[in-house]
């Protein structure tokens, strides 16, 4: 069992956006506004208690320990057999249309079964998902930590292209991995008192950079609760599908 994770080093990052575009190229993410699996947001220059900061929020799906996007998925669960690519062991698990893969800890979407209701998109407090409405049948989409690439022995596209080597990827369950060591040394999860769902992307950097990052982008809304307490999820999916089809015909 692994839990893949990423550490992003803001001391190295220069905000060049190579990661965001390598991701878009690799997975053909549509270039409509708001569609992104991987992004760079610029922060500042702004004042912090530690001096002026001009830094970046290079973000992606956090592949959380407690993925609230999975909680809200209304698709009927089915049982699926998973095989570890590492050692061939098998494991049966009930999954909805979005699920946390048991051998890697990567949160994935079963596109065949996604009904395009958008609940997971709204639930994610990091805004890491989008609903791809360029498709005939809209589907949720997001970063997969390049599951297919790492399955083929390659690095995630954003890690490979990072010109400053600011993105470090590896297995948290391996205490000798670089990510484990960096986290032990103090790399931080982007979270607040209100939102703590176990994100597996960590940030390191100067005090002022981390201060600015957390102030601007640590999630402060329990977005998934609105979804869970909102209109019936099945109703929502029917509404969403009707809206999408009227958009297409109109």
């Amino acid at each position: 069992m692994s839990q893949y994770a990423m550490v992003i080093d803001l001391a190295k990052c220069v905000g060049c956006h190579a990661c965001a575009i390598a991701c878009r190229a690799e997975w053909r993410v549509p270039s409509e506004e708001g569609y992104r699996r991987n992004w760079v947001k610029r922060i500042g220059p702004e004042k912090t208690p530690f001096g002026i900061a001009y830094t970046f929020y290079p973000g992606l799906c956090n592949h959380c320990d407690h993925p609230v996007c999975v909680d809200v998925c209304p698709a009927d669960p089915i049982t699926r057999n998973f095989t570890s690519a590492k050692d061939g062991t098998n494991k049966k698990m009930e999954i909805k249309a979005t699920f946390k893969e048991p051998f890697t800890g990567i949160v994935l979407i079963d596109k065949e079964r996604c009904i395009g209701c958008g609940a997971c998109v709204e639930a994610c407090p990091y805004g890491a998902r989008y609903l791809d409405e360029t498709l005939d049948e809209p589907k949720a989409d997001k970063c997969t930590f390049c599951f297919e690439r790492i399955s083929a022995g390659q690095e995630p596209a954003c890690v490979q292209t990072c010109i400053a080597d600011a993105r470090i990827f590896g297995d948290l369950k391996d205490p000798n991995s670089k990510v484990s060591k960096l986290i032990k040394a103090g790399a931080k999860r982007l979270q607040s008192d209100v939102v703590q769902i176990g994100p597996n992307v960590y940030w390191k950097g100067s005090k002022k950079d981390l201060h600015a990052l957390f102030k601007n982008f640590a999630p402060k809304q329990r977005t998934w609760e609105d979804v869970l307490n909102g209109p019936d999820l099945m109703k929502r999916s029917i509404l969403r599908a009707a809206l999408a089809s009227s958009k297409r015909s109109g």
């Binding site: 060049c16 083929a152 022995g153 390659q154 292209t161 990072c162 010109i163 991995s177």
Partner: protein, 765 residues
């Protein structure tokens, strides 16, 4: 071109890479058997055919591999064989895919049908286009003489066409904005003091091994040249201290140990005070300076008057900060990277002097040839393509009055200052210029005062360009030749002579799309029509093979090595074995040749005019996802960064009641107004300047994604002066104030100006 010569690298990449077990130590998954069994359905770029090549989304030219699936380019990655960038490419490198497939590309030759600048064209054949260009070149040359032809060029696409202009005998055969609008002053400063171009296309500065670094107005990280950024970050990661001097809090400033928010235009005052302090306090390298430098005594007495007390009010900096910074840099010597700078056409007067100061500082620290300092290139002897050389035509003969005459240190360099060409085209003096050829450069968005450039264009008998995209330069042309992108052609063998030397070759990843042709084919066809015997290879592939053959290589051999061969670097010199490539073998701290031309042997501080009352100085820089004005229409890059913002100091904005994100207009000292642009209100810029990223505010409606996005800095730069050494045009000599909802708002004076800094006189504007 070498369209049919695809590399047949069968290396099915997924499996190959997988078997390398990339990063398996980190515990990445082993290849998944189900994926490997069905290669046709591999997702993403997995399973693509790979072709090694060389990027040209910018001129840094990183080695790449292009990934092809079903005959289409799907992705570009760095060439893992490259010791410079490895598997990495920047945002622009990644986006080459969208240059190749941009639906707005120029697809076939065009002839202007409306007025110049109107952007109305008719499609014509290659024969008609080339016949018409050759007819006009020949006619105008015969009527007005060879110098009536001028060529503006940039990048690999222009290299062959330049041969034609040179063969036709014009002194104006290479008027490179890359030189006269960018690196000219720094190149001249170092060529003169150190004997080689420490900073031109490349910067030989060993940041990766420095213990301390100094950046003066250099925006590494916003200016993204991958290996250069990597060396900067490697140096910082190893603990190098960093001093950044910049009126704006840049990406690099954020990483600095000491940041000096200097008043624009006063960098030389700071540098002279530092030089004086280093000498007075004997912080220089005592054995190095007398042994390896000349002119120390002249330097010492010339800088004596430049004290911190004198510099502080001019630079608007605190004495203790200036002192702490130079102490920090001196402590690390000789492993101190005094970055030579790159884009150096700031103020006209004093630009060469500023970089001369940087060269002096590096020399006082004994950092020349030392790890972490200025190093020496490792030249790789490149084969010569005998098939490219014009035979039987005129040598370039200087005209009676040359446009180069005014500039005593232009000699070593080809071409003519762009400003001189533009003025001569307008006035007809000292000789008429009636035809412009343009290749690979958008001159309207590159040269200061585009109004003047356009006036000159209106005066021409004929103007043509070779371009990939229908930008501003294309809309002002009579004939437009659609050139192949770097992904559709071979180019001359490429050698890299920095810390990780290599040789590699650009190779096409697809045949040219539409009706576009390669630069070699175009030049060859044009030469033929002008009866010039210049290009005797059948195509570029033959040319590349000829160059490689002389290096004991061939395309086949190179491709068997992954498209790239590494060489061992020889960058460092022991101080007692250091011989500089100057006449004396030493570094010139004081340059007697400058004095002979009535210029300063040791730099002096000469003030550039300060902003007039109510105005701020316009400064500019780069968006890290764009190259010049060239990439704003790229689908992916446009999505990432569609428009620029005007950075306005937060105190100024509060006084003028301007909110962050609000749309404003900028008006310059000549009343020229910008496109609407959003304000970025920040404490990260001084109150006496306004910053914007260069290259936006596209005025060609044929670039459908870039058109009217953001504002153009170039259209606001209408005051410029020319560097007296080599004729470069200054870019930071214009001023702006803010227009909001048709109300002109004066910039408040929040920093007192000392008497040494006279203001720009508006009535002279």
């Amino acid at each position: 071109m070498r369209r049919r010569d695809f590399l047949k690298l069968s290396a099915s990449t997924t499996l190959a890479l997988a078997s390398l077990g990339l990063e398996t130590k980190e515990g990445f998954l082993k290849p998944c058997s189900t994926l490997a069994a069905a290669p046709k359905s591999l997702p993403g770029s997995l399973g693509a055919k790979e072709i090694p090549s060389v990027c040209e989304m910018c001129f840094w030219r990183c080695p790449i591999v292009a990934k092809i699936k079903n005959g289409k380019l799907v992705k570009i990655e760095g060439n893992p064989k490259s010791p410079a960038n490895g598997k990495r490419v920047c945002a622009r490198g990644n986006s080459g895919v969208q240059l190749l497939y941009d639906p707005d590309r120029l697809k076939y030759p065009l002839k202007r049908t409306g007025e110049r600048g109107e952007g109305k064209w008719a499609k014509i054949s290659w024969k008609e286009a080339l016949d018409e260009i050759a007819f006009n070149m020949d006619k105008i040359r015969k009527k007005y003489g060879p110098h009536s032809l001028a060529f503006f060029d940039h990048g690999a696409s222009a290299e062959f066409m330049r041969e034609i202009f040179q063969a036709l005998g014009t002194e104006n055969y290479s008027s490179e904005p890359a030189f006269y609008q960018c690196v000219g002053p720094v190149a001249v400063a170092y060529l003169t003091t150190m004997g080689y171009v420490v900073s031109g296309t490349r910067q030989y500065i060993d940041m990766a091994n420095a213990k301390a670094m100094l950046l003066v107005g250099t925006h590494i990280g916003e200016n993204v040249h991958v290996s250069h950024v990597r060396e900067f970050i490697q140096g910082l990661s190893k603990g190098a201290k960093l001093v950044v001097v910049d009126p704006r809090f840049s990406t690099a400033a954020n990483k600095a140990d000491i940041y000096l928010p200097i008043r624009p235009g006063t960098d030389t005052a700071l540098l002279l005070a530092w030089i004086n302090y280093v000498i007075e306090n004997k912080l220089y390298d005592e054995p190095f300076v007398p042994r390896n430098c000349t002119g120390f005594n002249e330097l010492k007495s010339a800088v004596k008057k430049y004290t911190f007390e004198w510099a502080a009010p001019i630079c608007d900096l605190k004495i203790e900060d200036m002192k702490a910074a130079i102490e920090l840099l001196a402590k690390a010597r000789p492993n101190t990277a005094i970055h030579p700078g790159r884009h150096s056409t700031w103020y006209g007067r004093g630009d060469v002097g500023r970089h001369h100061c940087l060269s002096i500082l590096a020399s006082l620290f004994g950092s020349i040839g030392a790890p972490g300092g200025i190093y020496f290139p490792t030249p790789i002897k490149k084969g010569h393509a005998h098939c490219v050389a014009c035979k039987g035509e005129n040598e370039v003969e200087e005209p009676d009055v040359s446009l180069r005459d005014k500039y005593p240190f232009i000699e070593a360099l080809p071409g003519t200052p762009t400003a001189e060409i533009i003025k001569a085209t307008i006035s007809g003096k000292p000789y008429p210029i009636k035809l412009w050829g343009i290749n690979g450069v958008n001159i309207i968005q590159t040269i200061p005062n585009p109004y003047e450039t356009i006036k000159a264009i209106k005066n021409l008998d004929f103007i043509f360009c070779e371009e990939m995209m229908p930008g501003e330069t294309a809309i002002w042309s009579d004939i437009i030749l659609p050139g192949a992108t770097y992904l559709e052609r071979y180019d001359s063998v490429y050698t890299y002579d920095l810390l990780t030397p290599y040789v590699t070759v650009r190779q096409p990843v697809t045949e040219p799309l539409f009706e576009v042709k390669t630069p070699y084919w175009i030049a060859k066809e044009l030469a033929k029509r002008l009866n010039l015997d210049c290009f005797r290879c059948g195509n570029e592939k033959e040319l590349v093979e000829e160059e490689l053959k002389q290096m004991g290589l061939s395309l086949e051999k190179l491709n068997a090595e992954g498209g790239l061969l590494k060489f061992k670097a020889n960058p460092y010199r022991k101080p007692d074995e250091l011989t500089m490539p100057t006449d004396t073998g030493k570094i010139l701290l004081s340059v007697p040749d400058f004095a002979e031309e009535d210029l300063d042997a040791v730099p002096k501080f000469v003030a550039t005019p300060a902003p007039p009352k109510g105005f701020a100085r316009l400064i500019y820089g780069r968006s890290p996802v764009h190259t010049f004005s060239r990439t704003m229409n790229n689908l992916w890059l446009n999505h990432e960064w569609p428009e620029n913002h005007a950075w306005i100091n937060d105190e100024v904005a509060a006084k003028l009641k301007i909110q962050d994100g609000e749309t404003i207009i900028l008006e310059n000292e000549h009343g020229k107004r910008s496109n609407p642009i959003k304000a970025k209100v920040t404490p990260g810029i001084r109150p006496d300047c306004i910053y914007m990223a260069h290259g936006f505010g596209c005025k060609s409606k044929h670039l459908t994604k870039a058109f009217k996005k953001g504002a153009s800095d170039q259209y606001l730069i209408t005051t410029y002066e020319n560097d007296p050494f080599m004729g470069a045009s200054s870019h930071r000599t214009s001023f702006v104030r803010i227009v909001k909802k048709d109300v002109v708002k004066d910039i408040p004076d929040l920093r007192p100006l000392p008497k040494e800094l006279p203001r720009f006189e508006l009535n002279k504007a």
